[in-house]
Every structure is written in C-alpha cells, then in structure tokens.
Symmetry: C2
Amino acid sequence: MQDARHPRAERSGPPARPRSRRLPREVRERQILDAAVQVFAQHGYHEAAMDEISEVAEISKPMIYTYLGSKEELFVACIRREANRLIDSIGQAVEANLSPDEQLWRGLRAFFEYANENRASWTVLHRQASTQGQPFTAELSEWRQRALNLVTALLARASGTDEQPVPHEQMQPFAAALVGAGESMLDWWIDHPEYTADALSMRLMNLVWMGFGDMVQGRRWKPYE
Amino acid sequence: MQDARHPRAERSGPPARPRSRRLPREVRERQILDAAVQVFAQHGYHEAAMDEISEVAEISKPMIYTYLGSKEELFVACIRREANRLIDSIGQAVEANLSPDEQLWRGLRAFFEYANENRASWTVLHRQASTQGQPFTAELSEWRQRALNLVTALLARASGTDEQPVPHEQMQPFAAALVGAGESMLDWWIDHPEYTADALSMRLMNLVWMGFGDMVQGRRWKPYE
C-alpha cells in the first residue's frame, strides 16, 4: 500500500536507475561495515585506510562519509554492529525452558562460536577497541553493560524457580565475573588459536558450573547431546 | 665500612644539609608516586596537574621531571608500582602447603583486600589506565601477563599432586578466565562500593570453586577459620 504522505512514492516520470534501486541504504551500509570490519581487523585502527575500505566495499569514499561519517565514527559503528550481533546470538541460543546448566552451556558456546566464526573481525576488533582509548572505550563499555544485563537476567532465571525468583541484584557480581572471564579468554584465544571454540566453551563451563572443587577430583560437566 | 671508590664519602668540609640526607632518591620517588597515584585517581589522567602532584608530594616540579620523567611516564610508573604491589600481595598470601581451596581463597581475598585498601588509587587507576589507550594499555598488558603467569602457576600447583603435576599450559585458559573475572568484578565494584572485599571474594570463590551447579542447590564453600 502506498503512503500518500510520501510524494516520491507517487511521482511519475522516468524510473530511478535499476542499480540504485537494488542498493538501498541498508545494503550499502552493510557493505561498508563488512569491508570496514575486515580492513580494521587486518591493519589496525590507525593503519587502516579509508581508500582500502572504499575499494573492498566497492563504494566511493564520499558516499562512505555521507552514510557512516568519519573513520572514527565508522569504527564505532563497527564495534556497535559486531557487539549487537554477538549479544543477539547469545540471547537466541539460550531458551528459558532448558535446564540451568543447558542454558549456561548454550550461552557460553554461542559466545565462543560467534567469536570463532568472526575471529578475523570481532576478536581483533575487540582488542583494538579496548586499546585505543576514547571514544571506543565508551562504546565498548556500553556494550559491556548490555552484556552484563543479559547475563544477569540469564543467571537469575537459571538460579531461581518460578516460585522463588532470584533478585537480579544478587546475580550482578556473578555476571560481572562471567562476562570478564569470557572476555579474558577471548583475548587469550587470539594468541592461542590452536584451541577450538568447543574446547574453550567446555573449559569455561566446567569452571563456572562444576568449579575447581569438582575439577580437581576429576569430575567434569558433559553436554547432553 | 666506607668505600674508597666513592670520594664523596670521604670528603671533608661542611656536611650536606641534614634535610637532603634524610631524603634519599628512593624516598623522594616514593613520595612522588604516592602523591601522583592520589591526584591521578582523584582527577583522572588528563585533568591531573603536575602542579598539584608537586604540592601534595612537597617536591618541586623540576625534581619530579628529573626523577620520574613526563606526566605520561609518571602515570606509567604509578601503574607499574601499584600492579607490582598487588601481585606481590597475592603471591605472599598463597602458601604452597595449604589445601587447594585454601590457596585459592587466600589468593582471591588478597586480591580484593588489596584493591579495597587502595580503592581510591588502584581501582580507579586501573580503570583510567584501561581507557586511555597507549602507552598505558601496553603497561597494563605486561602486568596482566605477570598476573596470568602467577595464577597459572598457582592453579597448576593446586590442581596437581607431587606425583602427578599438572602441566602449566593446561591451566592457562582457566587462569585467563580467573584473572578476567577478578578484573571485571573490580571494575563493577567501583560502581557498587557497598560490597565488602570479603563479600566479593566469597562470591568469586563460590563461583570458581563450587560452581553454579552447587550454588543453585544451595551448597556453599565456607572458609576454614
């Protein structure tokens, strides 16, 4: 249904060029961001050239500036998009009707798998962003807060029952520990790529579900499937 | 016993002013660092003024520059000293003849107690350093590596036996998780000062020793004393 408030939708005359019709703004922005993540991850923030991003994206530099702003703004947009994707993939992996350990396991695995599938981008981007100072630190810390809220909610749900829900505040220190543990393992992973996503998820799962107390006794958590 | 290679020790004539004799270089440097940690923590790296550091330390600005260099170098020296103190206090708290859980507990408690006693300095300094970019990130990452090595060694010792020592490499991902968990809780603590050092140590201990598996069943780790 056409909206009469948008006169462009009703204008007559020659149609726009098919090429630009096939590339609405969202698609162009995605192309730019894909290219930028790749180039930033490869060369680092400072060394990355807008020329190369433009080349890889097959979109002109002026258009990149128009759509996503300066190099700094583009980098912030990259962090934001990748962080959102990561958080979404964790949220989707964890279903409320699963047992607490299964929820935790799926969340951890989604975290490491996402990082693994995007190793050339997200892991490196994360390290870059955390070492470049402002404004990237502010963007990362906003992302961390969202991750903390997500994990706090998951832990509260997994630890309580319908009759006795656990207050979110009680879970906050544990969520902080878990998010920090995950981040730190991710950082360590960049220098130890020989580990698989599954191997690392399993270690973090055993640490936070079984604990060292069980691990030193040789007891391990095993996935159901 | 006087050393004849140091002519100053043998020179005659009027003695040096007592004041400068009572302040050898180490003492002066300590005064400067104490003042700098305090001022950096209070105002942040960028806002902190060398004038104020000089005033608090009761040492002239030219002498500060001579002893510890630029503001940037001074900040790096602060991070280094505070990080060394933290690592030393953890190392001293953990004795090899204790049971594994007692070693872990003492290490965690030392970490949070150190941070607590130096809350105005170390915690804030840590956050500052991690958000200012280079060269502070490099200094912090050197410190992290030392912390990782310490924790890896502690975990390997606590998890193995004299007959069956655990290879250090196996403990590295767990050490990365634990260091990240501690750092992240420290960061979270800055905004939640109502928690005590003991309360946070106990939560992290329960998370990594008992695990969520025991915690959701209501089982808790308790200290011996």
